[in-house]
């Protein structure tokens, strides 16, 4: 009940911040449009739509991380949070109260991205739907990264870390824009240790019908998402006393 009451408040905050909502959903669509236009004018297969869509969907989620980080950082700096810290809300209520409304927003972003890809030529079949489902744990991962950053940093710092660092990490180390084998070496090894490439590969495996390849990648994403959520709860607990 307490978590739901807090989630309802956060839902209202998110819905009323239309600029972020439009930007979050619109950005992946703009990227898809741009890269498809490039593909139409080059003779080689650079950005094939069924390969590109899961990657752009994952990249778009980095803006959900930015959004969730800003939401929690902004709240932490307000006196409303002081009032909430003296209430019976626990740090778990806080983290889940933020995650619950952000998850549908992230899912909506993925669906919009795929829907626009269909307009650009992506075929709709069961694998397309499966790919959307497979990307949902990545949504949780990015939300938890945002919440962790928002629990540690202030509004300005979150803008830099989630807005610049995370978007670049998820862009370069996910294999969305180029094959990581082309770079190889330490770059590829680092990419394989991080969850972004695995999130994209799981989505691509689902899209191509290579079902046996989904879970080995998805476990990385789920593992990181669970770990990040637990760390966010622990950090938020610590911050509850130091922010007071």
């Amino acid at each position: 009940m307490r978590t739901l009451a807090f989630a309802l408040r956060n839902t209202k905050e998110i819905i009323r911040d239309r600029l972020n909502l439009i930007f979050g959903i619109g950005f992946p669509v703009a990227i898809l449009l741009l890269l498809t236009a490039i593909q139409a004018n080059v003779p080689v297969e650079l950005f094939v739509i069924d390969h590109l869509t899961p990657g752009v969907a994952v990249f778009g989620l980095s803006f959900v991380a930015l959004f969730s980080g800003l939401l929690i950082a902004k709240d932490r700096s307000s006196s409303l949070m002081l009032r909430l810290f003296t209430s019976p809300l626990t740090s778990r209520d806080f983290i889940f109260g933020y995650t619950l409304p952000l998850f549908p927003m992230a899912a909506l972003q993925i669906i919009f991205c795929f829907a626009f890809a269909v307009i650009l030529g992506l075929k709709v079949n069961l694998n397309t739907l499966l790919s959307i489902v497979v990307l949902l744990p990545a949504a949780l991962l990015f939300i938890s990264i945002g919440l962790l950053c928002g629990s540690i940093f202030d509004e300005k710092q979150v803008g830099g870390i989630c807005g610049a660092l995370l978007t670049n990490l998820s862009a370069w180390l996910s294999g969305t824009w180029f094959d990581l084998d082309l770079v190889g070496g330490a770059f590829k090894k680092v990419a394989e240790l991080l969850p972004f490439k695995h999130a994209v590969d799981a989505g691509r495996a689902a899209m191509s019908g290579a079902y046996q390849n989904i879970m080995p990648h998805l476990w990385w994403v789920i593992g990181y998402a669970v770990a990040m959520t637990i760390i966010a709860i622990l950090v938020f607990t610590k911050k509850m006393s130091s922010d007071a």
Partner: protein
């Protein structure tokens, strides 16, 4: 019956002692004002008693529960109206009230009923649909106190409730606070001496983290050998140097 009993309550930050071995007793239903110059330790005391921060040493029993061992039980019975106006700016007056009722475990129906009651008793009906950020400072404070009371606390902490308000808004808020006297225990911090004298049953004067004296306004004037409360306050709070 005793509502608050502190036992050598102490808070230190690195080399600075914010509150030093505070021993204070407050009765149930009493309106107790904590006075002191900036840095006297008033807000730190309130933060410890409302379980926002942990004491470095010592303990306090709030409504029969230890703030060190049973903070959750304490939080369920108290509420706080922080120094700055602690409202959710993008929510309406009604939504703010229902939100706070919800995080104290009330279901939707009960939250609506309690919000109706608060709107009626605080005269908020004309502005119930207005977003909190559009209200004047006086109305925001009034809402902030209504939010603190919607959980039906047995104890209310009011931290500088009239700070920054014009004289009319301040007097209106005094009426609200006077209406609560005797019904619940109220701990009030303020810089305005006349406010403490007008509203409180007893007054505690803090200086440099220590409770210098406690009693009714008349008792404190008698103790200091002064004819007016301001002189009594200056004498008691200034004993042993200003500490600046």
């Amino acid at each position: 019956m005793i509502a608050i009993q502190t036992k050598n309550l102490t808070k230190t930050y690195k080399n600075k002692t914010a509150v030093n071995a505070l021993n204070l007793s407050i009765n149930q239903g009493e309106l107790f004002a904590l006075l002191g110059v900036n840095g006297a330790g008033k807000t730190t005391t309130i933060k410890m008693l409302s379980c926002l921060i942990k004491p470095t040493s010592g303990d306090a029993e709030v409504l029969g529960h230890s703030i060190n061992k049973e903070p959750f039980a304490v939080k369920q019975q108290i509420n706080v109206s922080p120094q700055e106006t602690a409202v959710a700016p993008n929510l309406s007056v009604r939504e703010n009230l229902e939100f706070i009722a919800g995080i104290y475990g009330n279901d939707r129906k009960t939250s609506i009923e309690k919000a109706n009651k608060m709107i009626a008793s605080f005269g908020l009906s004309g502005i119930e649909k207005d977003k909190a950020k559009t209200l004047s400072g006086g109305w925001q404070r009034r809402l902030s106190i209504a939010m603190a009371l919607i959980s039906e606390p047995k104890m209310l902490f009011l931290d500088e409730p009239t700070l920054g308000l014009d004289v009319i808004a301040r007097r209106e808020l005094w009426q609200v606070i006077e209406g609560l006297k005797g019904k619940i225990t109220i701990i009030l911090t303020t810089h305005y001496l006349e406010e403490a004298v007008a509203l409180s049953d007893r007054i505690g004067i803090m200086a440099r983290g220590e409770l210098k004296a406690a009693g009714t306004a008349d008792e404190l004037m008698k103790q200091a050998g002064m004819d007016n409360f301001e002189d009594a306050f200056i004498k008691i709070a200034g004993e042993g140097g200003s500490g600046v």
